[in-house]
Symmetry: C3
Subunit: 326 residues, 3 copies
């Protein structure tokens, strides 16, 4: 009781709460929970090797962002003299962390599929290096995304503000790293990354989606970009936009997971807030503009504007009602 | 000044910012803020006993999730031999934390209601034990929710991915724990829990809502499930769905808080993204499907599909406009 | 290898992953990234003085909230005797942190604009004091916001619950602090603050927006309030509401950033969920009520209700379809 919080200690010492046998009740619950655990079940994890660890994955994301934008997201002072040391040190630590998490992810996947550990290979470092080699091209993509934000948002004051503050840029940064890991066939880690971005920003980009250069998401809360979506260059989308699937029960369509289920958005398209575009055969043609609150499940040719019919307003005097027919 | 940041130290030593009397300005502000503090006011908290503490509540959530899914959300390696120790240790710590927070919550509630501390009872451990005994049935509900995700989402690769990564499953996990605490009549803590889930996922399920087995929320950002909502078994909802109240000023309707204000959603209903269903007398009949972007304030019989009239598309040549009339 | 995780160590000792020359691959990447870094580029930060630091800004937010609501967001027990010490200590630390971050923000802005450091002035403490002096009036505004939540939400049980748990109140608290910093002309820090609130709550209020007393945001996920929005007193808005700009490419309109681009919402207006109101010349007149899912780009006179035409329901027997024409 010595480490006990003073408030609680006071309650204890008042003697009011000292009913006996608390732990008998607890141990019953422990037995029940432990006996319900079934090592052969696909999601019950029992092994000498731990699972991939979310905190390590988040550390990898943070290091990645510091490497891509030296001087941001850190206390450290960066200059031309120490730059290479700084990047080098961060990169080595990212490499070690990532190698380990990749190994664990493959080990876990093999266990989850009831294969013994002979499937487990030490591919972590090889794949981590393959990822690290992509960082310069990820940076080049992100620089185009920064410029897209400067062009697309009148409130953007500087590139630094975009890097520092813009949730759309944060989500895209994490997506671009996760997508490279996805392309390398690494399980779990890409999705942990993009769901972390989703949690921070409300922007849910599946790591399997394909996104061109100069992508800008403004505000972004509620954006959903599905697994098989293809987005061209210089596309701009706003909060609440869904690029989703027409829902079909998985069991009804064998092989559904491997088909295109999400739309294609060609170059230079703008999609305003809270619009929903669904289906693997839906293509939004280049340079089209989709207005707000649109629900679209079919293709649109290039150079098209899709808007809601202008609302008819009915004014009804004082204590008035204004009907809007959308 | 010795612990000062080098950058700041440099500024100080330049002598430019050493205007005197900073602290006179500060102490004026302190006096103003302190004198505006009124111990008799319902929300000004002054007491020898601290308030319930958000970080402790978040720790309880994390322990709950580790107990329900051993091996996840931890570095530790779990196997059949150490499982019972692991669960036992986590459960005892959860029990201690929760007992303390429950005591503090009741103490605080009594203070807030201007009752002296003689209302404070040491019910923390009793209620914490009652909660802990519900964990096996919470786990059984959550296992049905995992299966619902596997059935409902073609992108779901494994049960592990659902447990690890799916924000809908995270929000439902926290809701199911919070709901049991809510049913035990514990103040503050259930809402702190579900608002934490809301912050992490954008999914706002009130702890008072009633939710059946096999519940699946996909993507989930913007989902709102109100306090008196009743949801049946095998219901699936998408991002941006609101199950809300028709708004009435509280003062106009005495006892409003205790009435049904939110809808009933029967078994096997699907509600697509960004639809809004309002009102305590609104019932969505079993097996109905509510399309996207629907605004509904009245009941729908079983086996019904509710969809927006197909948009009429008007193509207007090149530099074209496509009007969508929803 | 001694500090290595046991799981990883086992993999290493199996000898499978010891391909040589990992670090040659890494050092190539370091060189590429370092040589792409261009100190003269507006967003590449190189300097002996570090950038403003997000974690410090978040610490300032937390201290601000503890100062405004003593006893909340802390383990500490607050009472009439220690109150002034508590506020005083928190305030001094806030003042120091904020002074430093303001200095760094101005330094960084000057560097980013390619001006040498002779533009850097030690205005941090002066501006930090000006901010601190606003805290009593911020508190008074926030007390009106708490009352607005009690009036507007039947589920609100107590003022404490609002302070503790309501994401709308959290977002407004952070906005009100950030707005004062914005009015003082401080770069970066206000936006870092409101984007932090955005991340926690899904509510994106630009620090430049002007918001009257007794403001209530319920649920809040997906709310966007743009930079030049003006909101009167006793306004209430729900989740998914956008007060936004009619989008125009910045390059087409010189000086666009400094014009009103976002709407005016007069006193006592209510705007229901997922409605979108756009444009700098759009005014919602006092006491008007805007229903859910409305898309508005023109003004509405006072005392007006704007609602969607009641949906026509078409019932089609069993295996029925219900068409809703919004």
């Amino acid at each position: 009781m010595d480490n006990m919080d003073p408030g609680r200690k006071q309650l204890f010492e008042s003697g009011q709460c000292c009913e006996s046998n608390w732990y008998r009740g607890l141990s019953d619950v422990v037995s029940k929970l432990a006996s319900s655990w079934d090592d052969t079940h696909p999601w019950e994890h029992g092994s000498a090797i731990p699972m991939p660890y979310q905190e390590a994955v988040l550390r990898i994301i943070d290091r990645g962002r510091r490497i891509l934008f030296p001087g941001y997201f850190t206390h450290a002072s960066i200059n031309a003299d120490n730059l290479e040391y700084y990047i080098g040190q961060e990169l080595c630590m990212l490499f070690e962390d990532l190698s380990e998490q990749i190994d664990l992810a493959f080990c876990y996947q093999a266990l989850a599929q009831s294969h013994p550990s002979d499937l487990v290979q030490t591919r972590g470092r090889r794949l981590a290096l393959a990822f690290v080699k992509k960082l310069p091209s990820i940076k080049s993509m992100l620089m185009s995304d920064i410029e897209a934000a400067m062009v697309g948002d009148p409130a953007a004051r500087s590139e630094s503000e975009v890097i520092f503050c813009y949730p759309g840029f944060l989500a895209i940064s994490i997506y671009r790293m996760a997508h490279e890991l996805w392309r390398l066939g690494i399980p779990f880690i890409p999705r942990i990354m993009t769901e972390h971005a989703h949690s921070l920003t409300g922007i849910d980009i599946h790591p399997g989606a394909t996104v061109g250069r100069s992508f800008f998401i403004d505000h972004g809360t509620g954006v959903v970009v599905g697994e098989t979506t293809i987005i061209g260059d210089r596309v701009r989308i706003y909060q609440g936009v869904t690029l989703g699937a027409l829902s079909v029960p998985k069991k009804d369509v064998p092989g559904l997971r491997n088909r295109r289920r999400h739309p294609t958005v060609e170059d230079d398209v703008i999609i305003y807030s809270n619009s929903t575009i669904l289906g693997g055969e839906t293509t939004i043609g280049a340079r089209s503009v989709i207005g707000g609150n649109i629900w679209l499940t079919e293709s649109v040719p290039p150079d098209t504007r899709v808007i809601l019919k202008r609302p008819r307003l009915i004014y009804k005097g004082r204590q008035a009602k204004f009907h809007v027919e959308a």
